[in-house]
């Protein structure tokens, strides 16, 4: 709802809001991720559009009460189209002093703080590094602070279940959730059910949590006046009809690639090695054995990609997943997949670098590595995922391209959308056109580098096929026989054909569309990947304000869409917005000699809408 005067409301009336950003923040042990996702589920079920952003610490379990142990979950929901988790929270839920310290800087001026006063004791204040209790000075004077002793009230509420102190305090998050549900007029039933399910074997915990939830809810009712609490209403968002669920970027991508393998009629074989934030793909696919998916947790990233390439050699669909440092390790083997022209899906869930960097923070800084990061002239296809739901279609597209053209396809996603959830209109797999792979069978004139004259793809002949025994490898191959060749002219020819094959795939890509706005005009903001929501909102607002700006968002990073040059050149000015030091920018400049303007952000945090808005205004000379 950023922009709406959130706090200026009449007492006791239910205030109608277009959208609102709520951020739950507490200690890692306070269960903020659970609280946030439960709140999201209810919000989703009641039909608001939404976007979430789990923001957890790098440590598994940092010491209680420290600032680096703070875990937060942000949700932006509304009756209008939501496409980011929101620039600044309107409501901040604070479970301890450390959470306040870490999160206050980002709260909208005038925003609402609901905090657990009971946790603001000397010990916790000290751990958070507060010399003076911020509740005691005027440091929070610009906000609307609701001091509630959630600790005490929770303990009170669950007393009857005879829990230990630790278990009792663990119910604080449900108490808080109850209060929030009251505030936003959301139902409790789904949560009660899921608590009963979760604690099926420990009914006293289920009961205590439910009691806390109810108590928090009841508190809203009764304390409305004394604490000057208000209620808000966020309407349903008018979405396309259909069945919906929430999904995050890693889920949708896992499912998309699996869908692709099913449409291609291939066994999916994932070789992977755990790494943040890519591990969930391995986890998801490990659980889908009923689809015949093979998952191989290899000893390292190199063995992982090698197994995937081996799988493709054997006639399966090889796939490997990792993040920047792990993708780096796959470089050499990727060259072999390119040289042997085998289909392969490589997923890079980017995180902040260089090196180990900030493993739990987001960035888009692996584009260079994806497009250019190999020895030799080694072109491949690079696609990108733009939001939490997009992975499904990108996954399918990647498999289609990889198998049709016999090439590795690299998919770039990032830590932000990997974990962020959005509502998703669930597709019907039967609506997708299958693209079954036809393995080569005919021994007549066979050699492994026989090419389809149109796609330039080589034939795929799998071991087990009679009469097609052949040997391939990373040494240059003769164009006409597939045997090893050290011939000079042949090497040029093979280099050319590898390049031509990939370049030609642009003709199989759809023309680049304008996501929002017009073809041609004063200004275009070009983005790729997870920046889509922020750019979309900023451009939408700017256009509403009458500015001549359009949004172009790339899914196809390499080869670039065949009309992109013309399209970009139809604007007076082009901003390239990305979460790195200017990688797509370099790519576009090198291809089109276009004098773009770079909007770069490298903080490990997603773009704020406002940052893009500022750039738009600046680039339009402050004039609309």
């Amino acid at each position: 709802m950023s922009g709406q005067p959130f706090m200026k409301i009449q007492n006791s009336a239910i205030q109608e809001l277009d959208s609102v950003v709520v951020r739950f923040a507490g200690d890692s042990g306070d269960g903020m991720q659970l609280t946030g996702s439960q709140f999201s589920v209810v919000t989703a079920l009641e039909g608001s559009d939404l976007s979430t952003f789990p923001d957890f610490p790098a440590e598994i379990r940092a010491p209680v009460g420290t600032t680096f142990g703070v875990s937060a979950f942000q949700i932006n929901f509304g009756s209008v189209e939501i496409s980011t988790a929101g620039d600044e929270p309107d409501v901040l839920v604070i479970m301890n002093p450390a959470a306040l310290k870490v999160n206050i800087g980002n709260l909208r001026k005038g925003g609402l703080i609901i905090l657990d006063e009971g946790s603001f004791n000397i010990k916790n204040l000290k751990k958070a590094g507060y010399e003076i209790n911020p509740l005691d000075d005027d440091s929070l004077s610009q906000y609307d602070v609701k001091r509630i002793d959630i600790t005490k009230m929770t303990v009170e509420a669950v007393k009857e279940f005879g829990l230990g102190n630790k278990d009792a305090l663990r119910c604080k998050n449900m108490w808080t959730l109850g209060l929030l549900l009251w505030m936003f007029g959301r139902k409790r039933q789904t949560i009660i059910e899921s608590l009963e399910q979760k604690f099926a074997s420990k009914p006293e915990l289920a009961e205590a949590n439910i009691a806390a939830l109810n108590a928090g809810h009841a508190f809203g009712e009764t304390a409305e006046m004394s604490y000057a609490l208000h209620r808000y209403h966020v309407n349903r968002y008018k979405e396309e009809a259909g069945t919906y669920r929430t999904v995050n970027g890693n889920q949708s991508l896992s499912w998309g690639i699996l869908a692709g393998s099913q449409l291609a009629g291939l066994k999916l074989v994932l070789g992977s090695y755990p790494i943040t934030p890519a591990s969930p793909l391995l986890h998801t696919l490990s659980g889908l054995k009923e689809f015949g998916v093979v998952t191989f947790q290899a000893e390292d990233e190199i063995a992982a990609i090698c197994a995937a390439i081996g799988a493709s050699f054997a006639g399966g669909l090889g796939m490997t997943t990792s993040s920047g440092p792990g993708i780096a390790l796959k470089t050499e083997a990727l060259g072999l997949a390119i040289s042997t022209e085998l289909p392969l899906i490589v997923v890079d869930i980017q995180r902040a670098g260089p090196s180990t960097g900030l493993p739990t923070k987001t960035e888009q800084s692996d584009l260079y590595q994806a497009v250019w990061g190999r020895n030799g002239d080694a072109p491949l296809v690079v696609l990108s995922v733009s939001n939490s739901t997009d992975g499904f279609d990108v996954g399918i597209e990647a498999v289609r391209i990889a198998t049709k053209y016999m090439t590795p396809v690299m998919i770039l996603s990032d830590g932000y959308i990997a974990n962020a959830s959005e509502p998703w209109r669930i597709p019907d797999i039967n609506d997708y056109e299958p693209f079954p792979v036809k393995f080569h069978k005919d021994p007549e004139g066979f050699h492994p580098f026989l090419r389809n004259t149109e796609t330039l793809a080589r034939v795929w002949a799998k071991p087990g096929t009679e009469g097609l025994m052949h040997r391939i490898g990373g040494i240059e191959k003769d164009y006409n026989s597939g045997h090893i060749s050290y011939d000079a002219v042949n090497h040029q020819k093979m280099t050319d054909v590898r390049k031509a094959k990939i370049d030609n795939i642009a003709n199989d890509f759809p023309l680049q569309k304008v996501s929002l706005g017009t073809e041609g005009g004063k200004l275009a903001v070009v983005g790729w990947g997870s920046t889509s929501g922020a750019i979309h909102q900023a451009v939408k607002r700017a256009r509403n304000d009458g500015m001549d700006v359009s949004h172009i968002h790339l899914r196809h990073i390499w080869p670039l869409p065949r009309n992109l040059e013309e399209l970009l050149k139809s604007y007076d000015k082009v901003i390239v917005a990305e979460m790195n030091a200017g990688q797509l920018n370099t790519l576009l400049r090198s291809q089109y000699l276009l004098d773009t303007t770079l909007l770069s952000k490298v903080t490990g945090q997603p773009f704020k809408i406002q940052e893009i808005t500022d750039a738009i205004i600046e680039n339009l000379g402050g004039i609309k």
Binding site: V269, K289, A304, G315, G464, G473
Partner: protein, 340 residues
């Protein structure tokens, strides 16, 4: 492959390719190639169901010379590729060819894990104690003091014993052969093929150019009977031209020793009986080295357990029995809501 095919027995020659073999004249790899082709023919292998995977090195050129499917991959990583192939199609018979550099230097980790996981492969490690293809640098199995282009003053690296390493990695089948022992090698390789799981076979291979005759001490035909022992499961470890030498476990030294039957009151009963399934014995047999001991050849350890590819496949099949693969249902799992 469903129609009944008449299986004609193939000969070693049927496993040759049209590619000119490009090893140095006199290289031990030629003999091994012949040994493998014999083993394939003897065991009734089908070219279309057989895959040879290799890394990089002289030895790793091997797949080009065998008329099966073949994948000449990258340096040291053959186990990864082989695992992927086997997991995708467990019906394929997959052989892995590697060298002491490829398999134990850059590829040591993959070798470790493919053995630990017990992927059903035949792994042949051509040990010539040198990097052949890159022109003669010392390898992890080279002897201390060896002068090479990268160790002009002599190598100071302590060498690794491939078989000891394999056992340490948890290998369930460990054997050893000699390039030119063409009577024994095909038999050992046939045993390797028969064994379900990772079969590790170290093959002493002479690099005539960069490390000639490094195994001469015990490969010399004339003295071979006295310098080699060929193990047979369940039989006493007796060897020598006069069949008079034997291996005994000396409990005081807690070590094996070579004894002579008839000397110092030694009788047959003192000689250890080879037990392929005993890991402790296998460690000892792998550790002993010429010239104090005979070169130990044949199957040293064979103690099968379920292979990795089999376990993986079985787990998938078991899940399939209880869960239906319904993609639309998968997408609709968890909380959903309807907008209309």
């Amino acid at each position: 492959m469903n129609k009944p095919v008449e299986i004609t027995k193939l000969s070693p020659k049927d496993f040759e390719t049209d590619q000119e073999v490009r090893w140095c004249p006199g290289c031990g790899d030629y003999a091994i190639l012949k040994g493998v082709q014999m083993a394939l023919a003897n065991t009734g292998a089908r070219p279309e169901n057989t895959v040879f995977v290799s890394g990089i090195g002289c030895s790793s050129r091997f797949p080009y010379y065998i008329s099966t499917y073949g994948f000449h991959t990258i340096h040291g990583r053959a186990p990864g590729f082989a695992t992927g192939i086997k997991l995708t199609n467990p019906d394929l018979d997959v052989w892995l060819v590697t060298g002491d550099g490829d398999g134990l230097s850059i590829g040591g980790n993959h070798m470790l894990h493919v053995l630990r996981r017990n992927v059903d492969l035949q792994i042949m490690l051509f040990n010539n104690e040198i990097y052949g293809l890159t022109k003669g640098q010392y390898s992890p199995t080279s002897r201390p003091g060896l002068k090479t282009p990268s160790s002009p003053y002599g190598s100071v690296d302590a060498p690794l014993s491939p078989c000891v390493f394999a056992l340490g990695a948890g290998a369930r089948f460990v054997a050893r052969g000699i390039d030119t022992s063409l009577k024994e090698l095909p038999i050992t390789l046939a045993r390797a093929k028969e064994h379900k799981g990772a079969s590790f076979v170290e093959i002493y291979q002479n690099c005539i150019v960069y490390n000639d005759n490094v195994f001469g001490e015990f490969t010399e035909k004339k003295t071979a009977q006295d310098t080699q022992i060929h193990l047979k499961d369940g039989e006493r470890m007796i060897f020598g031209k006069d069949i008079k030498k034997g291996l005994r476990f000396n409990q005081d030294k807690f070590a094996l020793e070579v004894v002579i039957l008839g000397e110092n009151g030694i009788t047959e009963d003192d000689i250890l009986i080879h037990d392929e399934k005993n890991r402790h014995m296998a460690f000892m047999l792998c550790e002993i080295e010429a010239p104090e001991y005979p070169a130990v050849c044949g199957v040293i350890y064979c103690n099968p357990s379920e292979s990795y590819d089999h376990s993986v496949t079985a787990q998938i099949e078991k899940v399939k029995e209880t869960k239906k693969a319904d993609f639309n249902a998968l997408l609709r799992s968890g909380r959903t809501w309807i907008v209309d």
